[in-house]
Structures are given as C-alpha cells and as structure tokens.
Amino acid sequence: MSRALRGLGPLTRAYLLQSFRSGTAIFWNLVFPMVWLFLFGFVFYRGNPSLMMPGLFTITLISGAFFGVSYLMVSEREAGILRLYRVTPVSALTVVLANAIRAMVVLSISVGAQASVGWLVFRYEVTGSLVLTFFIMLLGGAAFVPLGMFVGSVAEDMRSAPAISNLLFFPLVFGSGAALPAFMLPGWLQSVMRMIPSSYLVEALQGVMLRGYGLAQLAGPIAVLLLTLVVGAWVNSRLFRWETSEPLDKRAMLTAIVVLTLLYVAAAMLAPAFEMIRPPGAP
C-alpha cells in the first residue's frame, strides 16, 4: 500500500472490531433500525409496507451517518485516542478513510438487516431493479457519511456534537418525505423539501422501488447526491482535526456550506417536481 495510506486496512479492521464489540454500537446500528421498522410497519403504514421502505432506509442512513459517525469521531478525538495516532506516521487521510469505510460497512449492515427483516415480516415489494436499489442506498450512505464526518470535525466536544446532529437530523428526516409521506405534507413544506439533501435520496429510492424507474429517469437526484458526496469528501479532507485545540479551517467550512447551499438552491430551481408529492394511485 502506498505510504500515504499505510495502515488503512488494519485501522479499518480495528474500527470495525470496536463497533462489533461495543454494546452501544450494536444497539444503535442493529436494534434501533428494527424499532423504526416495526413502528412504521405496525403503526404508521399498516396495509402498505412497500410505501414505507424508501423512507425507512433513508432514516437509517441519516441516523447512522450523523449519530454514529459524528459521535465516534468526536469522542475519539476528545478522549485523546487520535493523539495516539498522531504521533505515528499514519496520515490524516488514512484515519478519515478508515472512519468512512467503517461507517459504510456499518450502514450496509444496518440497512441490510432492516431490508431482510422487513421483507420476512412485511413482504414489501420492489418494482424496479434490485441492483439499482442497492446502488442508490450505497450512494445515499456515501453522500451522508461525509456530512456526519463534517459534524464530527466541526463539533468541539461531546456536548455540541449531539446538538448539531439533532439540529440537522430533524429537518433531514421530517422535512424530506422520509418519515412522513411527502404527499401528506403542506405545500410550503413541499417547496422547502427541495432544499433538503435527503429528499433526493427518498425520491430516487421511491423511483426505483415503487415506480420501477431506471438509472436514466433517476439521473437528477443521483447527480445531486453525487455532488453532495464530492463536496463532503473535499471538506472533510480540509477539516479533519487530530485535537480540538487545533484551529478549524473556517474558510473550508464556510466554502462547503456555501457550495452545498448553492447546489441545493440550484436543484430546487432547476429540478422537475418530485414525483413523491403525488399520492399513490394518482395519475
């Protein structure tokens, strides 16, 4: 392995071992998604389980990316574990990538468990391609993990990390059609929805899972998610901190916020109306 990435494999493995051995990690990554699944399946979406799955997967990806990733980064930095890595030749890039890969693996397991248990219990249907469904889920994870890491880098400590994560979590979940069906939301919120990153994931997942759309029909939301991934990856390469006492690259932080805002303003203005605001069965 090249020198810049030396130790990536072992560090990723060590991170994964820690996640698999930690009771709290297992609760949040495996038990918690099941709670959402059964709450949705038995309470909110009785009789139409297929409708709920795109939103559920989105919620799992968002909560994993924000709470899982940002908390781990902040607590590892706050405890001084990152300092221990800092005095070795391991690069910041290696630590960032190992965190990202760990997050992707853990998210895949969370979503995979939710998908399998959900299918066994509720027998939901996927109209479109399973491969494309899988690809969009991965892309959604890859777009949100850097945002969670962004929070992890910006947050000063374990008191501010939950505050920032919650501040972002609620609009991402409740303003996107992930938790509540978009067609039930008031008109003004349907407009705001177009500015919220997770809406594009819900739209893409619904497109393939409910409407059987192919890649070409979903190019718009996929492009938005890809661009989010690119901006997120860039800003993380600039913001990573070994120690909280290190200065935060405020210019990179503001640049990323401005670029993301412009991206979503442009998407909101240019993209055609979301299909998810039409009630199912409507023409």
Binding site: A14, L17, Q18, I81, R83, Y85, V87, P89
Partner: protein, 308 residues
Amino acid sequence: MIIQARGLRREYGDTVALQGLDIEIEAGGVVGILGPNGAGKTTFVETLEGLREPTSGSVSVLGMDPTTQGKALRERLGVQLQKTALPTELTVREMLELFASFYASALPSDSILEKVDLVPQADQKAATLSGGQQQRLVVGIALIHDPELVILDEPTTGLDPKARRDLHGVIRELREQGRTILLTTHYIEEAEHLCDRVIMIRDGEIVADGTPFDLVGQSSESSTIWIRVDGPMDPAPLVAAGVEELGQQGEHHKFTTTDPTTTVLALGDMLRSQGLRLVDLRLKRPTLEDVYLELMGDVPEDLAEVPR
C-alpha cells in the same frame, strides 16, 4: 546531536510557556526534564514531537524539523504522551499490531509484550487493564518500531511504586541498547536514579543542567555534620572556620556547613589539638531534592496547567 533547540519560545496568548530555550542533547543515555507542573515540560517535548509549533526559535530532532518533516521523524521517534487514551474494545495484542502497521518496519508484537511485561494480558481488552498495565502498554506502543529516540512525558505519574520500578527497568534496558530516552518527570528521586543528565526547568527557563552528581555538588545548600567524641569538646575552632553550631543531638554535636571538605579538615586539627578521639562521624550532603527546592522554592505546589 540528536536534539537541538535554539531560542525555542512558545507563547499561548499572554502566557509564555517557553522563554527561548537552548538545549543540545547527544545520542545515548537517559535525559530527564524536571520541573513543577506548568514549568513548560510538556510544551517542550510536544514541540519536539511536532505537535506544537514554536512561536520563535528553531528545533531539530534526529536532524529533522518536527513541524515540516513530522512523518519521516515519527518513523524513528517513539512517543508516549501524557494525555491520551486507548481504544477500549481492542486487546493488547490487537493494539500493538495496529500500531505496528503504521510503520515501515516494526518489531514483532511478542517481543514488545515481553519487554513491557504484558504477555499474560495479551488477549485482554485495554479497558480491563490496571493503570500500570495501561501505562506499560502505551510505552510498548511507543517502542513498536524500535525507535532511536524515545520521548516519555511523565511516564510514571500516578503509578504505584511497583509499577514505577517495572517501568524504570524498561527504560534502563532501552538505555543499555544504546537508545536515547528523554523523559519528563516531577519525581526527583526518579530523575536522580534513572537519569544520566537532568535539566531543570521553571517558568519555561532552564535553571539547572547537569548530571545529578554534579548538580548536587554545585548546590549552595549546606551540609549537616554530626560528630561524637570520647570527651568534652570545645567547638570554637570549627565555629571560627565558619561552621554553624546547632547544639547536641543525643550524644552527637550537630553542625551545618556550606563547605564540608574544609570543615572535615578543620575537624581533624581540632580533635588532635584537644586530644579527643572520634567515635562517630555522619555527613549529610544536600540531595537533588534540596537542589530542586532551592531552585523552585517559591513555585506554588500546584500551578495551574498551561492552557493548550
């Protein structure tokens, strides 16, 4: 020269942590940085490690600039930090193997386990280790790549006497293998027994530098002399030679002197002229602790830590 600092200055806002240190350290041996909390010990070693940048002045470690050549430097430098934590869910062996993977070449983890005496704990998670075992593991991690220079920041603080002695054994072994060890401590007896050279710093300045033996010799603190003789003694000749009489302690006469060598000679003359025989002579030279207290005397016991 393995470490060279010139005019090394570090400020944190209005606080000056290091006020222009000039230090040269040659390869080989154990060098101790001794000073009270807040003296600048950690700032100094963390500057050597490249964790902090000097405000002004220059520093070179193993011929490299720690700020710009950190990666290359860390291949050859072993560091134990004062403030750190271990990932709790990994075992001792897993942790050593993880850290080994960060270096171009590393020792087998078994040899480190033996060196720091953690063979029985190899498959235990870090969270279940005692304080002393965790500290030995952190030192073991610092040694995994067989570094030429090892910097230990208060390696024995908070350890019980047995754990401290074990760690001293590890440090002595490194010294015998020709490594250079730089350690900070506020335990004076640790510096006295372990270090070939002691650099005392206070308020970010060097106040003493030398072997423990030489530092004690340079002290202006007085020595105490007790003598017991076989008859009545008139101490006037000793007092005339500048010795201060402190009266009797049991059957011993007690004196203090800043020049014990001359005093002993004067004592011999006095005994001969008074026809007395010396039954017992005890001499207490100042210790490194006396030298330390003399130099640090008015430093408050628990000066607040310098902000990071």
